[in-house]
């Protein structure tokens, strides 16, 4: 993408004012976005993102500059602009180590590159999903099918001699169904994605995903308002893991731990979760949506056990926060694009499977809420307070699923909720999502088997 000699000059220029580490990140990305709505292809967009990010460290000080002027003059200007902001005591290393090309082990085989599959083939799959949704029930009034695929080529080089290139390929199809009885409208959603090419789209089990999307919308249209109060809550697998992603995962990222802004800071070896909980971040899971070969600092992705049987084992760490903490990188540094300095982020994060069957967990619940599909949510990083919407909820009474509920929101505190898990199922599943934080919006998997939390506050319309 850029030649080695030019990159060496840029890395060197970035250290002119005494920085002790410099890095160049080059990105060339092709994105394709199609939207089928009203049973026709309404959006068909494609394009190319291209740019360069230059980072300089001086101790714990970090400066970032990015541009899409990739001329020699443009890159040297950006490097020197960054260097100028290093409040220059010239005490760092001033020469870079010559770049040596590393090879990347491809963990995630790609069969059909997105650019090699004709758009008409993609559209055919989208139409199938649309037909399944619309034929599901007369109350389904709209289907919105999104297909996004991309090829991201990156080059990462730094003053320590690292020079590595990688290609990331991702595909995702999301299906929104809208059900209406004339007055009221409710939506259903399913959005599977993978670190794969068109083979992922072509092989998607639409009879499951598209139909589920329609079924959720229809079910919620005839659901009663959720009650309010404190109840045991059963959260099913796959995207159900979003609660622990937000409420615990973010607090295990070095970006909050290094600044002592996390409830898990300085607690390695201590009990932080229920004994039933083992929590893992693993970027090496083959072809999963949040997977990587190397992170955005060029470190190999790996399996990091964060919590084991309730005991805190480790964090997700990037280079800069590693310096702050005196700890090594865990291959967890990510960024949305060249427009963001990288920081520690999740890849595929999940609660490991336990022993209970889903049927046992429900049968064992006298009165509570069953969250079959979770929606999104957010967490206040300082306090750990979270809120989440349930996309499809049910009332559980005397061990039986009684009736669907709408408008249920879960609120609570992450550090407390993970201690209150009293059942972990054996049906581990992963769900694709986009995670937004300081280094941008990233593809991540959240996952878990069915879990039960002994008590969470549910906010519904029935006060």
């Amino acid at each position: 993408m850029l030649n080695k000699a030019l990159i060496e000059d840029v890395l060197q220029a970035a250290l002119e004012t005494g920085g002790d580490f410099s890095e160049v990140f080059v990105e060339d990305r092709y994105t394709n976005h199609m939207v089928l709505q009203n049973s026709r292809l309404e959006k068909n967009l494609s394009g190319r993102d291209f740019g360069v990010g230059i980072r300089v460290f001086h101790g714990l000080q970090s400066v970032y500059a990015y541009t899409n002027d990739f001329s020699r003059a443009g890159l040297l200007k950006a490097a020197r602009t960054a260097a100028k902001a290093i409040q220059g005591k010239k005490d760092g290393k001033t020469t870079i180590i010559p770049l040596l090309k590393e090879s990347v082990t491809m963990l995630h085989p790609i069969k059909i590159m997105p650019t090699e599959a004709a758009k008409s083939r993609k559209l055919a799959v989208m139409r199938n999903a649309n037909d399944i949704i619309r034929n599901y029930d007369p109350e389904i009034v709209q289907a919105i099918v999104n297909l996004i695929d991309e090829e991201q080529n990156v080059l990462i080089a730094n003053s320590e001699g690292k020079f590595v290139e990688d290609q990331r390929v991702r595909s995702r199809m999301s299906m929104v169904s809208i059900a209406s009885d004339g007055a009221d409208m409710q939506t259903g959603f399913y959005g599977p994605g993978a670190y794969q090419g068109f083979e992922f789209i072509e092989n998607l089990d639409l009879n499951h995903y598209a139909k589920e999307s329609a079924r959720i919308a229809k079910t919620m249209l005839h659901a009663d308002p959720a009650p309010s109060g404190k109840f045991p809550v059963i959260i099913d697998n796959e995207f159900g893991g979003v609660i622990f992603h937000e409420a615990c995962g973010h607090s295990l990222e070095a970006s909050s731990v290094a600044k002592n802004a996390s409830v898990f800071a300085n607690k390695i070896g201590e009990k932080v979760a229920s004994d039933l909980v083992t929590y893992i971040d693993d970027g090496t899971l083959e072809n999963e949506w949040g997977s990587l070969n190397i992170d955005d600092e060029g470190e190999k992705s790996r399996k990091n056990v964060l919590i084991e049987d309730g005991i805190l084992k480790g964090y997700m760490i990037d280079k800069l926060n590693g310096r702050r903490m005196g700890m090594e990188s865990t291959g967890s540094s990510r960024r949305q694009s060249y427009r963001f300095a990288p920081t520690s982020r999740m890849t595929n994060t999940y609660i490991a499977p336990g022993k209970s069957t889903p049927e046992e967990i429900i049968a064992d619940t006298e009165f509570g809420i069953y969250a079959k599909y979770m929606g999104g949510g957010s967490v206040n990083p300082g306090t750990g307070d979270f809120n989440f919407a349930i996309n499809e909820a049910y009332l559980v009474k005397n061990g039986k699923i009684e009736k669907p509920l709408r408008g249920a929101t879960l609120i609570g505190n992450g550090a407390k909720t993970i201690l209150d898990i009293d059942r972990v199922g054996n049906n581990l599943g992963h769900g694709a999502g986009m995670c937004g934080a300081s280094s941008g919006s990233l593809p991540v998997n959240v996952g878990q088997p069915m879990v039960r939390v002994s008590e969470i506050t549910v906010g519904g319309k029935e006060a």
Binding site: D28, Q37, N38, R40, L41, E42, K43, N44, L45, S46, G47, R48, F50, G51, L60, Q61, V63, Y64, A65, Y66, N68, D69, F70, A78, T81, A85, K119, L123, V141, Q142, I178, S180, Q186, P225, A226, S228, K230, K259, A261, A341, G375, G377, S378, N380, G382, T383, D385, N387, F388, A389, R406, A408, T409, I411, T457, G459, G460, K461, E462, A463
Partner: protein, 450 residues
């Protein structure tokens, strides 16, 4: 290759490959973001970026493509992709606006912001942090303190001759803190958006953010029930921004809006006026032309509770047989032409924030809402959200509520607005338009407290 060079080659070669109409849209952005953490500069990001998008009519269909790489191959890349995309699209073609039109002559760009030095920004951040930490012993830390100086330019060229350019800039400041008393940990935050660095008042910011944080300490439980609610300006603005898409003609035509068929009808209480004003001097979305090049204008969307119009672009207007309202919008050159408001707000009235709750025998003040992207359904209007706020008894604030949720329906809230404050403010977080509201008094909402 410059934008002008790209434009000339694109228009010339585009004709050869069969485009009958061509448009080039571009954006340039420069910014400096500085963050401070515990007295040290913790973030220092420069950017200098641009991107361009072609939109054209090919065999009577619309094709789009964009690039951030400007080189010899860009023209071919753009045209090849635009052709491919046009061949498959099934929409009615989009119309390109090629008329000669009159545009407001307003300069939104503030040259003063070009003179703000990075050292001054750091100095200000340090001053705010020090003042916050010494304001009250219950302040635990300043979690984020950032300032961004951003300028951007957008432009639109047609092969039929239209050439439009506009620049804007602003300074964004954001600070969040943690306060603690015993085991209770609470956060506070505030922000400023300005075109005048000297207008930033460190003491006022410090007082506001610390007192807001401290006022959340001492939380208690209160009975769960339907309370009269005072929805503070920022919370009201964030709620309105979540449901703004309902006012888009695109959403109406796609059956994604409950306001379908409601033009001319009463959709809000009599005292509600909703205004879209693209000429607000400090509005982030201020512009004299929209993304299709149509001149913008100030418009009343709701007058005394009656819906006057939806937001339109050329395409939605044609479909409804009306004139465009100048609300074509592109999120960036990566996206297509959509519909979105500019600076859209509930018109302020005359009551102060205090006056709005003084009359409450018993009620809840909501100061902030969380989870709007997940706990609210933009189509049905239903919401169930985590909220911060206070319990009010006999017209006085008793204290903050423990973990609270509030549930209701946006379209019912519009009907249930009983009084409107004078304190218009805008939500910094919205993606579609710059959305504002004063504090609102609402008849009732379902509230649960822990």
């Amino acid at each position: 290759m410059s934008i002008e060079q790209l434009k000339e080659r694109l228009f010339a070669e585009g004709k050869n490959v069969g485009f009958t109409d061509l448009e080039l849209y571009y954006e340039k952005k420069e910014s400096l973001t500085i963050g401070l953490y515990e007295g040290e500069v913790d973030k220092y990001d420069f950017s200098d970026v641009q991107g361009a998008s072609v939109r054209g009519l090919y065999n009577g269909k619309t094709g789009y493509a964009y690039t951030e790489k400007f080189d010899e191959d860009s023209v071919e890349f753009l045209l090849k992709n635009a052709v491919e995309n046009a061949e498959l699209i099934e929409n009615e073609p989009e119309e390109l606006f090629t008329e000669k039109a009159e545009y407001e002559e307003i300069q939104f760009y503030s040259p003063e912001l070009d003179t703000v030095k990075p050292e001054e920004m750091i100095q200000f951040l340090k001053q705010v942090e020090e003042k916050i930490l010494s304001y009250d012993p219950r302040v635990k830390k300043v979690t984020t303190s950032q300032m961004q100086n951003q300028k951007f330019e957008k432009g639109l060229f047609h092969d039929k001759g239209l050439e439009l350019k506009e620049a804007n800039n602003f300074l964004l400041f954001y600070v969040s803190i943690l306060v603690q008393e015993n085991d209770e940990l609470k956060s506070g935050f505030t922000f400023r958006i300005t075109k005048d660095f000297k207008e930033l008042d460190a003491d006022a910011i410090v007082k506001e953010v610390v007192e807001q944080g401290l006022s959340m300490l001492g939380e208690r439980n209160y009975p769960n029930k339907n309370y009269p609610v005072v929805l503070k300006n920022e919370a009201a603005a964030s709620l309105l921004s979540t449901f703004t898409s309902s006012f888009s003609a695109q959403a109406v035509q796609d059956n994604r809006s409950r306001l379908k068929g409601k033009v001319g009808e009463k959709i809000a209480s009599d005292i509600v006026n909703l205004v879209d004003n693209p000429f607000l001097p400090a509005g982030i979305q201020s512009a004299t032309f929209d993304s299709e090049g149509v001149p913008t204008r100030k418009l009343n969307i709701v007058e005394e509770g009656n819906l006057q119009t939806y937001f339109h672009n050329l395409k939605t207007a044609k479909k409804d047989g009306v004139d465009t309202t100048g609300h074509a919008h592109r999120g960036s050159y990566r996206g297509s032409v959509e519909v979105s408001p500019s600076n859209f707000y509930i018109e302020p009235a005359d009551q102060s924030y205090e006056q709005l709750y003084e009359g409450l025998e018993e009620g809840i003040i909501i100061t902030g809402l969380a989870g709007l992207h997940s706990g609210a359904d933009p189509i049905s209007g239903d919401f169930s959200l985590a909220a911060d706020g206070y319990y009010v008894k006999n017209g006085k604030i008793v204290g903050p509520t423990k973990q609270m949720t509030v549930a209701g329906n946006f379209f019912e809230v519009l009907q249930d607005i009983e009084e409107i404050g004078s304190d218009l403010t805008f939500s910094p977080m919205s993606f579609n338009g710059y959305i504002g509201s004063p504090t609102l008094k609402i008849k009732g909402l379902a509230v649960t407290v822990d």
